[in-house]
Each structure stands twice: as C-alpha cells, then as structure tokens.
Amino acid sequence: MPITYTSEEQIEVYRFSVPVTVGVPLLALFLQAFLPRRFPFLAYIDLPLLVTIFFAMARRNPISGLLTGAVIGLVQDSLGGHPIGLYGIAKTVVGFGASSLGVKLDVENAGARLLLTLGFYLVHGVVYFTVARGMVNMTLNWSWGWSVLAGLANAMLGVVLFWFLDKFKQRT
C-alpha cells in the first residue's frame, strides 16, 4: 500500500455528525480532567491532543483542522489556571499540521498513525514549552527522553483510539 498519494482523487475526506463533533472533544476534555485525579499517571496522556489529531487527519481540511485544534486547546486552557492560549496555540499548530499531512499521507495505516502521533506530540510539547517560557515566563523542564516516552504512550493509545473513532466516520 502506498504511503503517499499521487493525486487528489485518491483522498477520502470524511465528515462527522454534530453529536460526534461536539461530544467526542467534550468527552476527551472531561476524561482528561477527571481521570488523572483517580489515576495520576494518566496526566501524561493528552486525550484532547489525540482527538485533535484524529479529526484533523480525517477531515483533511487545514482550516477545519486548525480551528478544531484552536477550540479544543482553548477549552483545555480554560480548565487550567494559566493564561488562556497556551494549549490553544499548540493545538492550532498541530491541527493544521495533521490535516495538511493527512492530504499527503495515508493516515489510515496504524504504523503511520503511530509515528504521526508521536511526532505531533513532540511538536505540541515544543510549541507549548516555547510559548509558556517565552510569553508567560513559566518555569518548565524539558526532557527529550521523557517526552519521547510520553509521546510513545500517547501514540499507542492513539492507534487504539483512532481505530475506535473510525467507526464514527461518514464519507462525504
């Protein structure tokens, strides 16, 4: 199976029903806020990021992807105590990148999904770290080893989650 597409005709663009479009991000945000309190290690999982990547890659529309990322990120910011926009900016970039890559790559493949999710997790971390340090003057520690490990955990969960969310896809 080819990894890259050669023409626009090969691209399948999906859409989602309104309940899925609204409900899945909300559920991800809710679980992200609720689960780490019970299971602290789950704080390293970024469900809203996974949902952003999934919707962006499935829709294959950069504008739609960046807007999805922006909204999810801003809502995630609202639940925290820091200035609103840190996650918003990071997820906007990820949404745009994922949807742009979705046009060019076969993102239905589990291996590609794993690598893409790992990559976008790192991009997200770098953007968040840069903005938080540069604009908000937050003290954050960056560790490549830890970030790659957390990224791998997120990527593996992402593969499973994307497979589950594929069931909600509707062909345009």
């Binding site: 909300l26 806020a33 504008i63 995630q76 609202s78 639940l79 820091h82 906007t92």
Partner: protein
C-alpha cells in the same frame, strides 16, 4: 493578489488564528495582576465540563456508599470497638491539649498578640482537575452560592491543600500548593525559620528563601506562618524531605506535603477566619505582691463542711459562689451549673492541676464550697488540697481576690457575678479561646479576658497561678471527700 490569497489561504488563516491567540495571551499576561475578572470562556468551559464530573462523582459515591453501608459490613463491630477505645484515648489527649492551649492563650494575651482562628469551614468534594501536569488545579463542588470567595484557604485534616483561585456559582477552582504559581508563607516548627513554599514544574513543593547557613533537619515539620494572609498560622504543611545546597545563598528544601495532593477526595474551605487582639492588660497588671502571695507558703484555712447539695452536685448549690472574705461585697451569683462544671472540667483537668502548694487560701463564705466542689472533681490525689475545694479556689484566685490584694481592695471584687462562664465547646475548640470568653465583669478587679474563664468561685486562674512553682507544701493534707474525676463531671 487574489491568486496569492487563494494560494496561501490556509497559511494566512493559520497565521491569523495564531496571531489572535498570541495577542490574547499577551493581554492576559499584561493584566495578570488584575486577576479579578474571570474570562467568559472559563465560565463556559467549567459549565460544560463540571456537571459531567459532578454527576460521575455522585454516581460513584452512591455506588460506593451502597456497597459500604449495606453490603460490605464485615469487621464493623471490631472497628467500632477500636474506635471507642480511640475516643477514650483522645479524650485524655484533649484534656491535656486544652490545658496547653489555655496556657498558650494566656501567653498570647500577655504579649498582646493577635490571634487568628479558623472559625468557619465549608466541606467540599473534589470533582475534577485541570487535566494537565503543568497546571495543578482542582475543582470542588462548592462555589459562590455556598459562600466561597477567592483566596480562601483549602485544607484537609492532614494539612493545607491550596487556595481558591476562581469561584463559579456552584464550582470553585483550587490552586494546589505544588503549582508553580502558588506561594505560601511557612515556618519550620522547631527552628522557627521562615520561608516561602513554592511549587515546581514537576509538582514538588519547595521551601524557598532559607539561607544556606541555616541548619534544617530532614523530617522537621513545616507549618503555615500566617504571613500570606490566606492560611491561618500553625496549620500543618508537611515535613522536610530533602535539604540540599542551593545555587546561590539559599537552601533547596524539598517538602513532603502532609496532605496527599494527588488523592484528595474531600477538603475543607476556610470561609471565615477570626482575628482578635488578645487583651493583656489585666494579666499584665498583676502586681508583684500578688505573685509573691501566691508563691509563699501559708497556713491553710479551717476545713469547711461542704454543703450537702453541693456534694450532690446540685447546680443551685454550685451557683452560690461568693466573693472572697475581705471584699465586703460578697454576692451570691447564679451561674448555670452544668456549663460551669463542663468548663471547669476542660479548663482544669485533674491530671494537670497544680497541687496548690503554698498558695494562701482565701476566706470563704457559705456556698463557696459548693462551687469549689465542682472545681475540685478528681483532685483526690492532690496533696495540697487541704480543704475540699478551698485550696483550688485560692489557687485560681485572681490577684485582687487573694489576701494580699484583698486587704487593700476597697471596691467590690467581683466574683462570678456577671461573669458568664464559657461553654465547654468554646473552651475546647480552637476557634474560641478563653480570651474570647465574655468577661462581663464591671467591678474594679475584673476578670481578665485573656485568662481562663472564671470558675464557680468567681475567681480566675492566671498563668503563674496554674503552674505554681514546685515547693514543699506546708499545709496539712486532708482527705478530699470529692469523688474522683469522671468524664461527665458533676451537674
């Protein structure tokens, strides 16, 4: 031009959206000092997410409660027995602690310290978190409707948790002490070194601003210093987990929080703190002659026959407290007996009661024995208790009521008249010190508000009186006919 816009449309929109967010962020950073306004998006997000969390917590609690209260009752009987034993032990401990607390209050009054108490709390349940490891935030199920406001302290029985950051109608956001934007004034319990408690990026709690030449022991307890005006002084924060040399002049002191911040279920929000100036004027005014009079050995009074109703613990008898002889204005006063008994029980526990060595007794009028009989409960082993009840009365006598001062007193030294004895709850709970006990005395030698509440004899103990110096008691010891102490006390 149009072709360029069309070609780079996606990129332009991306830059536009990013620019807007950066602009919004910059505005927020600039206005960070003005944290009074809650962004509308926060309200919307919290309104969308927290009902789900609240519902899930409710279902979870309901299921848990159903299981634990109706099905899983194994070992409850044994646990009940253990808890009863624990209550007995804690009662003893409470008596000891209340004596210590009373002493602390007296000293505070003596030094005219301002006292701060946690007078009202609201219990709340943790329903969620920020979901991000860079922002250590909790959501609790109480908000503005329950009387919560910004900057209220959030604690548990183990220690402090954080402060209220944002308040919504039915939900509040709590900033944990391990968040890097948090700051708490703290003090080390033994060395009394003060510092600022700050969170780190990885969720640790550090005590900052301690000079590197200071000695800090691992395991030392850290308390709140009260300097932040949010947490009342003296609340447990945690223990020193690690002490390391800092880069600069300061030590790196890592604190292990007393409260388990990652597994919080219920918390208490301090909605009301009480601050009052402990009045020390009466305590300070104690004359040297009075102090001497208490310390010198003296000849005890003739034993008096206690009134029968007093021996039975009749409140009416107990209430007939009168002024010491020599005052010339002894008035029988009515004091609610049970309250008095409870108050005295707490204030003067048998275990810590001084033996009254060398404290001169005052003359007493009929009825005083009844009052002191309440006071003397459990004092069977006190060698200084030569007369049933009487030595205690003299021991706890206010300086003005002692012989040394009574001789020169021309006015009417007040006894229990007009002095409302505090309830036991007022005495025992930290929010109400003896300093707050309504004095109500109007006579010249009035009851010092900063000291213990008056007993039935209308006198009060002072710091030096409660802990007399150890010296041989010349007074002949007589058996105390009072019954031994019990938890109920005479009524």
């Amino acid at each position: 031009m149009e072709s360029i816009l069309g070609r780079y449309r996606n990129l332009i929109i991306l830059v536009g959206v990013l620019f807007l967010q950066v602009l919004g962020l910059a505005v927020q950073v600039k206005r960070s000092a003005d944290a009074e306004n809650t962004r509308l998006i926060r309200i919307w997000a919290v309104s969308a997410i927290t009902p789900l969390e609240r519902g899930l917590v409710w279902v979870q609690n309901g299921a848990g409660s159903l299981w634990h209260n109706y099905f899983y009752l194994r070992g409850v009987r044994a646990e009940n027995r253990q808890l009863k034993e624990q209550i007995e032990q804690m009662r003893l401990e409470q008596v000891r602690l209340s004596e210590d607390a009373a002493q602390a209050h007296r000293l505070q009054a003596l030094l005219a310290f301002k006292e701060q108490f946690v007078s009202k709390t609201v219990a709340a349940q943790v329903i969620g978190s920020s979901g991000s490891d860079s922002s250590r935030i909790l959501y609790i199920d109480k908000g503005e409707n329950d009387g919560l406001a910004r900057d209220m302290a959030v604690v548990t029985a183990d220690g402090i948790v954080g402060k209220v950051l944002q308040v919504f109608p039915s939900v509040s956001q709590v900033l944990l002490i391990n968040d890097q934007s948090s700051g708490v004034g703290a003090i080390l319990e033994k060395s009394r070194l003060q510092g600022v408690l700050k969170g780190t990026a990885n969720g640790e709690v550090m005590l900052e601003r301690l000079m590197s030449d200071e000695q800090v022991q691992t395991g030392e307890t850290v308390l709140t210093s009260g300097g932040d005006q949010i947490f009342p002084k003296g609340l447990p924060v945690g223990t020193v987990a690690h002490v390391g040399g800092g880069k600069s002049l300061f030590l790196n002191v890592r604190i292990r929080p007393a409260a388990n911040l990652s597994k919080l279920e219920e918390v208490l929000v301090v909605t009301e703190k009480q601050e009052r100036q402990a009045t020390a004027e009466d305590t300070v005014r104690m004359r040297a002659a009075d102090i001497l009079a208490q310390r010198l050995p003296s000849v005890p009074e003739k034993p008096a026959t206690p009134e029968p109703n007093a021996a039975l613990g009749n409140p009416a008898g107990a209430a007939n407290a009168t002024a010491p002889a020599g005052s010339g204005a002894a008035k029988p006063v009515t004091v609610p007996g049970p309250q008095l008994g409870i108050a005295n029980k707490v204030q003067n526990p048998p275990a810590t009661k001084p033996n009254g060595a060398g404290i001169p007794p005052t003359a007493k009028a009929p009825g005083a024995s009844a009052a002191t009989s309440i006071h003397e409960v459990g004092n069977t082993s006190t060698p200084g208790a030569t007369v049933p009840g009487e030595p205690v009365k003299s021991r706890v006598s206010k300086p003005a009521a002692s012989p040394a001062s009574a001789a020169g007193t021309t006015g009417a030294p007040k006894t229990a008249a007009g002095t409302t004895p505090p309830r036991a709850s007022e005495v025992s709970k930290p929010g109400a010190s003896p300093a707050s006990a309504p004095a109500g005395t109007t006579g010249t030698p009035k009851t010092a508000p900063g000291t213990k509440p008056p007993n039935a004899s209308g006198t009060k103990p002072s710091g030096s009186q409660t802990k007399p110096p150890a010296m041989p008691n010349p007074a002949p010891t007589q058996p105390n006919p009072q019954p031994p102490a019990n938890d109920d006390g005479p009524h």
